[in-house]
Amino acid sequence: MALLFLRRIVQTALILLGVAAITFLLLYALPADPARMIAGRSATAQTVANIRHELGLDQPLLSQFGTYLGNLLHGNLGRSYAQKTEVWTLIVARLPATLTLMLAGIVVEVVLGLTLGTIAALRRGGPVDRLVMMASFVGVSAPQFVVALLLLYLFAVTLGWFPMSGYGTFAHVVLPATTLGVLGAGWYARMVRSAMIDVLNQDYVRTARAKGLSSRRIILRHALPNAILPVIAMIGIDIGQFMGGVVVVEAVYGWPGIGQLAWQAIQQVDIPIIMGVTLTSALAIVLGNLIADLIAPVIDPRIRTR
């Protein structure tokens, strides 16, 4: 177990190293010049060259990367070009907002997905099933920014139930979280439905029924825990999806999270922030998968003995 754990940590470190290397290479191979962005359009060539020297951008690529990795090992993500602040401080300041949003998004998608998927499986082949499956397809095919603008128009502009944008209260989180959750809810509904159909056909469910258990108890206590496994495995992958979606959702709702930070940094070619956010996201994805792997045996005893 300890060995397995060690292996996972080494794997995680390697993946992060790879993500850092690729992002670094891509960002420095791109034509956008951060020194020119900082200096402004009217700066002289000399000023631009000075800034480039100050930031170490005139060093060979490999030595730049070496410096970056060295700092990274000390937990130092560097300083923002534009804001002159530590990237780590900037990210930590934005983290609570994004984590709140993501957590709320996961709640929305899991609750919606589980409920709809279970209902569809129980009404298999009927009109309710077909309706739910169609709806899940629509959810999967809906572009997030359109969902965001639609919800905004319906519930903020027309009905006035929720604020247009901002951050702080429960009412603020409802629309962004729903936007983020719709996509995943579609996938989960489909997955839970097919897993549920499989489980409901198993002998032990028939036994439970024969024992005279209420169908409510059979579904909640016997069938659902087995059908929920693929969903748990997906949440890890989801976090990766979310990190991109968060940029769009935070842009539309003015949510002061990491997505907004990344979006501003991209427009200013603020490479240290872009690197920092990409690495944080990659870490979140890897951790998400790790947590999913750790939770699975708690829910399914069969995996424990494996």
Partner: protein, 282 residues
Amino acid sequence: MHVLKSLIRQPSALFGLLVVLTVIILALAAPLIAPFDPDNQLFEGLSLEGAPLPPGGQFLLGTDTLGRDLFSRLLYGARTSLVIGLVANGIAVTIGLFIGIVAGYLRGFFGNVLMRFTDLMMAFPALLLAIVLAALLRPSLWIVAMVIALVNWVQVARIVYTETRGLVERDFIMAERSLGAGHGRILFLHILPHLMPTAIVWGTLGIATTVLLEATLSFLGIGVQPPQPSWGNIIFESQSYFQAAPWLVFFPGAIILLTALAFNLVGDALRDILDPTQRGRG
């Protein structure tokens, strides 16, 4: 033929197929159907106060903030979306097929390196990567297509890899090898044909993803650049007006949704029909 028949038999797949065909025909025939030039800023396209006109009357779906005919822009936007959908996804599927097949066939050290690289790409937040790349490059239609291809091949590679590994173990490959067939012959004549269903399914499902991704990038202003119309940048251009002129968001939004939905429906039905594990059941 068998595939087409099975497709038409399912109502949802038939619906998807009809929508896909309609979008393709409209895109091809855009110059014939479009009532106005999509880039023409018409004087009569704005109200006296300079506001865009709502749907109905002379302009079927209304006009945008510059007085251009929304219907015509949507028609030409279909071309943009489909071109990017086909090109980007074609490249993505090709890269995915190539890497998956090579890694699955060679295995060993080289195959391992390829798959670890694929795992690495899985840990990349795809949309974030696409946003970063698209924003820092000067965006054009082809750059957007490349960026999308670059982030979308990973899933295909994984699936092809797993399937190829299974195929390599099969007796008919062993037989072929003992008959003296070279690697090229085995790969292209014997393994590749078995992967075609997978390629077709992901080629279709991937178009939905691609259309959504292009729309998202264009919505953020880093995709296809105006004045060239794309469904995403039509919304980008009119986003700040959307309270006053909601049709400028709803029509393009509905079309993006409908198109992605249609490709998803067809792809999903194709998967059921073409999946080897499903074949021969009834």
